[in-house]
Amino acid sequence: MEKGNNSRRDFLLTGLITAGLISGCAPKADPFEAGASDIAVASGKKVKLLSVDGEEIEVDEAFLKPVPHMPPVSNTEARIGIPGKKFVMVIDLSRCKNLKKCQSACNHAHELNPGENWIKVDPMQDAEHTAPYWEPTTCMHCDEPPCVKVCPVDATFKRQDGIVLIDSDRCIGCRFCMAACPYSTRVFNWGAPEIAPAIAAQPYSCETSIPQKKGTVGKCDFCADMTRMGELPHCVSACPNGVFAFGDINEDSVSNGAETFRFSDLIKDKGGYRLMEDLGTKPSVYYLPPVSRNFPFESGLENDKVQNK
């Protein structure tokens, strides 16, 4: 299993962490916890460590960084996305009580201008005699994104892993994408965003969407930087009720952090659907209907008053 020269992308392609580099260990050895810390390229430098049996063994240094140093990928690379992946989100409406932890985590993680929300939690009531429910909305990351169709300068783009991102260094601020998006997911930086000068001075990264810039459009990015590391988007891990589940449809699995589901079973068993299917946008976000709810609708009203006064 000496696959030391695997590129980072190949790692993610297979999704199998097989780059264990310990000589003299069990076959298929990967010495470390799966996940982030393994997404590194072997450096060839060996470090001596103590094995669980008290033996000295040599391990490649690249795998020893406490947290892998992941420089943000170039915006050219960010336009292509991760091969072999196709990210999906499942939002379980029966679990949402408008806590808005998703929203605050998202706003914090993306250094959003105060008042700007990429995640919105809407009180929905489809008809007079139907029951109201809370519906969190993110960017739908449509497979046929109307926003990308209309962009005049390639500032917003669809990647091969399904994520729709924005290049704020390219965006001319025409806001056609905002008009084109039926989900009203896009927000605009009407003025200079109020963010820390140190962050505002950073070069813009398409995957982190930081820093937001005056006169350009922003929106939910499925936390492309996190998914590149194999981690969950911030809204998913912030939700205490497990409303959001995120994963790779090519692996047929989604996870909300605590539980992992087989995507196809989840959609089948709970009657999953997508918003505004008739428009033909083919969203990547699926919803599970608000049946057998965990919370009454009213429990979310209090929080709504605070946020929408």
Binding site: P152, G173, Q307
Partner: protein, 435 residues
């Protein structure tokens, strides 16, 4: 001999005239309004679009309405010049220059206002360096550029014989203007060969400009119709926009006719008959536009789809109802009623109708943009209260009014430099009549 006296009289009547006192005040007023608009734009450049009242839901406001308005007015150049010429409508020839001047001024400000609407105008050139042919905005950029260029040519070609006449009056036009005329057209000698080439070119231009003019307005309508939004998601939109554009263009021409007639004492050249005829054109176009409005609103109203319900009731009986019915009444119904009567087609009533049509058209453009954006598919939620409604800020008004003033300024200046009625054509017609 008599002929040449009449000729000299005509030339004297039609030569561009220096501004009088009223003209100077008019120019000063327009300049001040433009400067206020420029100051507002400076503020917008400095602080960003946050100085406008546009927010995430109403992400397009009166800039875009104004853009559509300018594009609509610019269509008039093709209507008067090209269609009349190709259809052999003789009485229209004194109006062609006015139409061309309006078209050029409007198209210049249409392109300026779209830059004003951009959040990052310093990246305007990306439209050319990174343009995506899939985007209707790029189609619009291409077609506006093309139309601007055609309009310039269509203004320039028929101007050549007139420039030859203008060059004869050096002391009247002054040194600077004389040089400018010389630069523009000293090569025109009026030989049959030159006339033949020019005639051919104007014919080609007239044929070319019609599809391009249709395209410019259709593509502009597609900026809306290629989205899913209620009120925009309409296959009727291209034709609806073109009908509206013809109407407002014709309205602009009758207003300009009236003003130039008064200001330059052109009663002999722009006659009551012209108003009578243009009145008929306007009533026809009003009826056409009314028809498209019925098409646009009656069928959705009949169905009352849920996604369109809020938008439609907002227009018919809600917040936008006063503006909506005002625009329908003043922009179509009342003009139709006035112009159906013979006495309604006298110069003054036609002029008033023209103003009504223009005002109605401007508000109609406002109604095309804003109400739709205030009725998205998903509820407007988790956004600051200021995002839930739209009323333009003073900067938006200043820039919009400034752009309108700018267009008027260009029209005024062009009318100062060039004869508003083609002199050579009038002479030729006069000779034909005499024969």
């Amino acid at each position: 001999m008599e002929n040449s006296i009449i000729d000299e009289k005509i030339i004297n009547d039609l030569l561009p005239q220096k501004f009088g006192k009223a003209g100077k005040i008019w120019i000063a007023l327009l300049t001040v309004i433009c400067l206020v608009g420029l100051f507002a734009y400076y503020r917008q450049l400095r602080y960003g679009l946050v100085v406008t009242a546009m927010r995430d839901y109403v992400s397009w406001g009166i800039y875009i309405s104004n853009f559509v308005f300018f594009v609509a007015i610019s269509l008039v150049g093709s209507l008067i010049t090209a269609i009349f010429r190709l259809a052999g409508v003789k009485w229209g020839s004194p109006l062609t220059r006015i139409a061309e001047i309006i078209a050029v001024a409007a198209i210049i400000f249409a392109s300026l206002i779209i830059i004003v609407d951009m959040g990052s105008p310093e990246r305007f050139y990306y439209l050319f360096t990174h343009g995506r042919i899939q985007s209707p905005i790029i189609w619009d950029v291409i077609v506006i550029t093309t139309y601007f260029f055609i309009s310039l040519l269509l203004l320039y070609y028929p101007l050549l014989p007139d420039i030859k006449i203008l060059l004869r009056f050096k002391e009247k036009s002054g040194n600077g203007l004389h040089k400018f005329y010389g630069y523009l057209g000293s090569f025109w000698k009026g030989t049959p060969a030159q006339f033949k080439l020019s005639e051919k070119a104007i014919n080609i231009l007239c044929i070319t400009i019609i599809p391009v003019a249709f395209t410019i307005h259709t593509v502009t309508s597609w900026l809306f119709a290629t989205t899913y939004r209620p009120g925009w998601d309409s296959t009727n939109f291209g034709a609806y926009f073109i009908a509206g554009a013809f109407l407002v263009g014709a309205g602009a021409v009758v207003v300009a006719m009236y003003v130039f007639r008064k200001a330059y004492h052109l009663e002999k050249y722009i006659t009551e008959n012209h108003f009578e005829k243009m009145g008929r054109v306007v009533v026809l176009l009003s009826l056409l536009y009314l028809y498209f409005n019925m098409n646009e609103f009656l069928t959705p109203f009949f169905k009352m789809k849920k996604s369109e319900e809020g938008y439609l009731t907002g227009l018919f009986s809600g917040d936008f109802a006063p503006v909506f019915w005002f625009a329908i009444l003043i922009g179509m119904i009342i003009p139709i009623i006035i112009l159906l009567f013979k006495s309604g087609r006298k110069p003054l009533p036609v002029f008033i109708v023209g103003i009504m049509v223009i005002i109605g058209a401007w508000f109609k453009r406002y109604l095309i943009v804003t109400p739709t954006l205030l009725h998205p598919f998903l509820p407007m939620h988790d956004a600051p209260a200021s995002y839930l409604h739209y009323f333009p800020s003073w900067e938006e008004w200043a820039i919009t009014i400034g752009s309108l003033a700018g267009a008027l300024l260009i029209i005024t200046l062009l009318a100062r430099i060039f004869p508003v009625i083609p002199i050579q054509e009038t002479l030729t017609e006069q000779h034909e009549k005499a024969v």
